[in-house]
């Protein structure tokens, strides 16, 4: 049972391991799983460990359990309407639903049934019991009398099934799943007939018990429509969406050292307090002196789209890490000076920059693309001197990496200063490279 589940989920970049499967089994054993909606919930709790995994997880679930493939850019509604599963379900349940339902209503109903959990059913059962009690002495002669008769019986039937052993439950699920996967399943489905719920044919769903929108379907739709629930593209050039991911990659520039040292003053102090009993006090030495020099190309159209987001990134970094951050500007390439203001009116000469602490981490941000003559001897010298002085130096380029080789100046600068794409992953690599111990 579910042997192929990990493989399918991994296709969607949702890692599912043996432990997860064992837990799922345990959950069945504990009777947590009676419907398809239960599986969605329980498996979600077990395998989803990040809101960004919710989107891929939901997609994988629909693919694996319902054979509904949700493509990039699809809405859940479209994907459902297109699927065989939905069509079969609709054909089977048409008489039950009547003609007046719009397609949208039907999709909603479908979703309700897919995501109906045993909690929902429990609620109905509880509600029904209360309801019956309440109107126990009221003669029920209204037109809905027949229905009122029928429904409790269906619910009784559900209760009967809830004692199925785990093995029986598994067998039943396997059976339904096999049917689901075959193309002409001829009526017996995961859903609609009480779903995979062991309540069997005539279960809650069949009688059209609606629990006022089970919420699960709504949530699935929300998850699929919101970029927040999908992983951030770490290779995309940084933008408003992944700037936080980029920030997380920048975090690596704080060298974390867990060096522990004997804290002599506090050992003595506390030892005296204890009346001469000296217990060694350990303190962990933290080095988080962080100095960053950001040198941004803010000239020309090519850089315009990136400047703002780069500034947001480093501004966030400054507030987050509260350290020494200086930003300078240049146009196309650095000659003998950079500028301390964005309008490039206040020059700072390279000589002066070279007098700074060599522990500064230097980030150039620019496309490094210019006419070949612009990258002259002065400019090259500046880069070489900077590289020599500051060991931790990197160039972040917003141009897609595949174009670099087509630009002569990019290639020249890349030879001097290690160049990385201006994406969260690129930044991470740049930071790693900086952190490498150099002889």
């Amino acid at each position: 049972m579910f042997e192929t589940l990990p493989k399918k989920f991994v296709e969607y970049d949702v890692p599912v391991d043996i432990r997860a499967l064992l837990l799922l089994r345990k959950a069945m054993d504990k009777k947590l799983i009676r419907t398809l909606g239960d599986i969605y919930n329980v498996l979600k709790g077990i395998v989803v460990k990040d809101p960004e995994m919710m989107g891929p997880y939901t997609k994988a679930y629909y693919d694996y359990f319902l054979n509904i493939k949700i493509h990039q850019g699809d809405t859940l509604n479209d994907a459902i309407q297109r699927s065989e599963t939905f069509k079969n379900w609709r054909d089977d349940n048409l008489d039950r639903m009547g003609d007046e339902l719009s397609v949208e209503d039907m999709v909603n109903r479908f979703l309700d049934e897919v995501h109906m959990t045993s909690y929902d059913i429990q609620e109905v059962v509880d509600g029904r019991l209360l309801w019956d009690k309440d109107r126990g002495d009221i003669e029920d002669k209204e037109s809905d009398g027949l229905e009122g008769d029928k429904q409790p019986r269906a619910l009784d039937k559900m209760a009967d099934y809830s004692d199925l052993s785990l093995q029986e439950l598994l067998d039943r699920m396997q059976e339904v799943m096999d049917q689901q996967k075959s193309e002409h399943s001829g009526g017996s489905h995961w859903i609609g007939t009480g779903g995979i719920s062991p309540y069997g044919h005539g279960g809650a769903a069949k009688d059209g018990l609606r629990v006022g929108g089970t919420g699960g379907g709504k949530m699935a739709r929300k998850v699929l429509n919101d970029r927040k629930f999908f992983p951030i593209d770490m290779d995309a050039i940084i933008n408003d969406n992944n700037v936080d991911a980029a920030l997380a990659s920048l975090r690596g520039i704080i060298e974390e050292s867990a060096e522990e040292k004997l804290d002599v003053p506090s050992t003595i102090k506390n030892g005296l307090k204890r009346g001469g009993l000296f217990l060694p006090e350990i303190k962990s030495e933290e080095h988080d002196k962080l100095q960053v020099l950001l040198i941004v190309d803010n000239g020309g159209y090519s850089m315009d789209p990136y400047i703002r987001v780069v500034q947001t990134l480093f501004k966030k970094m400054k507030t987050r890490f509260a350290h020494d951050l200086e930003t300078h500007y240049f146009h196309n390439t650095v000659y003998d000076r950079v500028f301390s203001d964005a309008r490039r009116n206040k020059p700072i000469y390279i000589d002066k920059i070279l007098k700074k602490d060599p522990n500064y981490r230097v980030f150039f941000v620019g496309d490094a693309a210019m006419a070949a003559y612009e990258l002259n001897r002065t400019s090259m010298d500046s880069y070489n001197l900077m590289k020599k002085h500051f060991k931790k130096i990197a160039w972040l380029n917003p141009e897609p990496q595949r174009y670099w080789a087509h630009t002569f100046t990019t290639m020249v600068i890349k030879e001097i200063i290690p160049m990385f794409p201006l994406s969260p992953k690129g930044i991470e690599k740049a930071v790693k490279q900086m952190n490498k111990k150099k002889e």
Binding site: D17, R19, L23, K26, A27, K30, L32, N41, V42, K44, G45, I46, V48, K49, D50, P51, M54, T117, Y119, Q122, G215, M219, K222, A248, R274, L277, L279
Partner: protein
Amino acid sequence: MANKEFWTGSDKYLCDRDLAQSFHIARTLGMPLLIEGEPGTGKTELPIQYAADQNLELFVYPTGSKSNVEQFVARFDHVKYLRDSQIEILNSQREEKGLESKLSTGGRNPENLADYVAMGPAAKAYSKPNSVLLIDEIDKAPREFPNDLLYALSHRKFIMPESGETIEVSENDMPAIIITSNREQELPTAFKGRCIYHYIHFPGEDTMREIIAKHYPKVSNQIVDVAMDVFYHLRKIGLERAPTTRELLNWLKYVKTFSTSEAIDKIQKLEGIGALIKTQTDLERVQKQILSNPTDFQKRSTPN
């Protein structure tokens, strides 16, 4: 037997449906429930309200930058141990000198090492079946902390320092463990693997109304309408730090002290907005976008 009933909240606390289910799943499987989500969405409230509503004992471990497993589980009180063992010597010396009064060890016996084990919230919760254990804001802890917890979480057993006693709990009696995190740092994968994970979504308007009703049942609908309009508008304009449920509640707490019309007036003039907006840049932005264009905004936020 631990409480494995499905719990959907109390009259003071609106437990979101999905959260209630995850919580039930976690308790049934005897696993900790890890809750993440925006600040101010009631993560910490869940165990507190659950324990209060079900009359269960609650143990809290607030995590901080200096948290370690010793504090969480148990530590051996060396100083007390040293003191008590000295007292015996002292007392015998006093006896020799014919002094009557004796120093007391407070019922502790240095022979019995278990007397000197100071139990932390985890050990206490584990020795008390059917209790509730909250590990709050675990993302504030040093990186090793969650990794150090792995053993305890998967083996349901602690070994007390020095005394060697073990505290063990059966799967059935596992306390309900709730761990909250604001995602300030990523938790180790292996740690997350041992928890049932739940991400709290920011409540929609309907849910928010119910939450407000639970807290301030007496506030008039008009005030709530206007305040919610302002609130969700503020969340939409992309502030650095979007206001949260907790802050909306605080704001309402302030304005509800006035009469309805006064309160609405105050809300529209964004009085006491400091309860919602917490950074200077955001405040400037709000002033620029809303206060400079009040007619447009008031039109939107005045109930019809």
